[in-house]
Amino acid sequence: MSKILIVAEVAAGKLKRTTHSSITFARSAGLPFDVLVVGQHVGTAAEELRGFGAGVVKVADDAAFANYVGEVYAPTVAEAAKGYVVVVVTASSFGKDLAPRVAARLGAGFASDVAGVEVAGGVLTYKRPMYAGNAIAMMQITSETQVVSARQSEFEAAAPSGGLSALETASTVAAPLAGRVEFLSFDEVKSARPELAEAKVVVSGGRSLKSVEGFKTVLEPLVDVMGAAMGASRAAVDAGYVPNDLQVGQTGKVVAPKLYVAVGISGAIQHIAGMKNSKVIVAINKDAEAPIFQLADYGLVGDLFKAVPELTEAVKKIRAEG
């Protein structure tokens, strides 16, 4: 029986919601699945994963996995993957790094950022966006084992399905490269806001906000009153106004919230690639010809330094009225 192996993403012992998108991937393929959890002190995460309908939850809990290093994780994942038809990891920075390594170790074909899956006659066909989302390809992997990374914004986070999957210990495989790659540090950007990839509302700012201060004093009040995650264009990130991992786009994060508000963002194709599947798009830009207006459901032509505070006040009022 062909089966899928989901590789869970765990950070500091906590299960990341990216994993729930891989579960949805497996469910939409309609094939039975197991889950592999690799990390240190991952007991709670593994326990949590037992309620999603997996056949088995396999756990490799080892001090060697305290911090994510691809060279150290890949041998253990590849070993656990033997006998499965598909190995799936969500295409977060973790999955993007790990999945192709696992494919290489298995001699398997790989498809990245998969946005859909169909099974017919036992053959899996994947949908994947290319050219910054300007082409959608249907493709298959011809090797015995297949490795894919699933695009989080296209597979809604799975809810528990009840039941209690069996727990199993997965063997930890020594990593021959461990001595040549040393983990030094993780400088974490802490934020109390929702994560970009999961938020129902995203408010993004562009170069036009002009400074760190601009983001702080003009954009953030709107972000917070809307309970939104904050995003940015590459230009704003490159200029150092906001942390790198807030970049939305072809080469940053891909998001598909219920509401996306683009503030002072021109709408370059690389940016659009990361947000065009949002349900409702609002654009605020002083240039009536800005390309972002071609896909915005609601466009406001005007100066953001005036419009954004006004919008913040208006939303505040609505919230106060309940």
Binding site: A11, Y68, V69, E71, S92, K96, D97, P100, R101, A103, A104, F110, S112, D113, P129, M130, Y131, G133, N134, A135, I136, A137, M138, M139, Q140, I141, T142, S143, L177, R180, V181, E182, F183, L184, S185, F186, D187, E188, V201, R234, N244, D245, T251, L259, I269, Q270, K279, V280, V282, F293, A296, D297, Y298, G299, L300, G302, A307, E310, V315, I318
Partner: protein, 278 residues
């Protein structure tokens, strides 16, 4: 030190929304789009040059070398030549049809190139902006069994050139890894920021301009006499069977533009009563 940078010829990424789907979904047509080097590969060239030179005097470190390798049509020589004008020393072009390549085959072919060239470092773009796959560097590192770091936003080469500390741009922050050479690095956008690359030769006070360097005319002329060696993909002795099979292509569903609102009040009203998202 010797660095190898693989470089892909891609259709103008700033106009990727002008691609067409040909012959009943059988292929993607990029006619009319200017072929350019994948921007991430250009950043890989720039970052590599910063490892190999004194940024202040623009003098290259004696004995160091930067080689460009490309897989694609004969015309890809133009894109290699551009990297040579930036300062790379020589190029290798493995002639092949783009449709007969996938990331897995490129990585296996590159592993052979590495065997022949024996670089200390392979620096790649994190993804090609046409296929958007983000895979070759990771696969290559596993095949070579070399340590690696993906999505690099900073690199610091130790003075003895035995190790490199790489800052990786990941969800939630930056991971720092120390790799023992030889190694594989894939670069992200911020690798070409003014202070991203440290080689302990360029003075710490020196600041690079943001982005990949321009190529002045004398460099372009000099590049004309730098060697580009052409060979067939088959000459590398790799199995050219692909593990991925593309069945069809389509344009994404078009999103129709909406309305312009006259002020914030109208925007709020529409978001509440029409879109129901407030």
């Amino acid at each position: 030190m010797k660095i190898l940078v693989p470089l892909k010829r891609t259709a103008d990424p700033d106009n990727a929304n002008k691609i067409k789907i040909g012959a009943g979904g059988a292929k993607i047509e990029t006619t009319g789009l200017e072929p350019k080097a994948n921007p991430f590969d250009e950043y890989a060239v720039e970052a590599s040059l910063r490892l190999l030179e004194n940024g202040q005097t623009k003098v290259r470190i004696a004995g160091d070398k930067l080689t460009i390798a490309s897989f694609g049509p004969k015309e890809a020589a133009t894109n290699i030549r551009q990297a040579l004008a930036m300062g790379a020393d020589d190029g290798l072009l493995f002639l092949s049809d783009d449709n007969a390549l996938d990331g897995d085959l490129i990585a296996r072919a590159l592993a052979k190139v590495v065997e022949q060239q024996m670089p200390d470092l392979v620096v790649l773009g994190k993804q090609a902006v046409d296929g958007d796959s983000n895979q070759v560097g990771q696969i290559l590192a596993e095949l070579l069994q070399w340590p690696s770091a993906t999505f690099a936003m900073s690199m610091e080469l130790s003075a003895d050139k035995k190790t490199v500390i790489v800052g990786r741009e990941v969800d939630g922050g930056v991971i720092k890894l120390r790799l023992t050479l030889p190694a594989v690095i894939t670069v992200d956008l911020r690798i070409v920021a003014p202070k991203s690359v440290v080689n302990h030769v360029t003075p710490a006070t020196f600041t690079y301009p943001d982005g990949a360097r321009f190529t002045p005319l004398p460099m372009i002329i000099k590049a004309k006499s730098k060697p580009i060696v052409e060979a067939s993909l088959a000459s590398l002795g790799v199995d050219t069977a692909l593990k991925s099979k593309y069945l069809s292509f389509a344009l994404p569903p078009a999103r129709k533009g909406g309305v312009k609102v006259k002020d914030v009040a109208e925007l709020v009203q529409k978001l509440r009563t029409e879109a129901k998202v407030l």
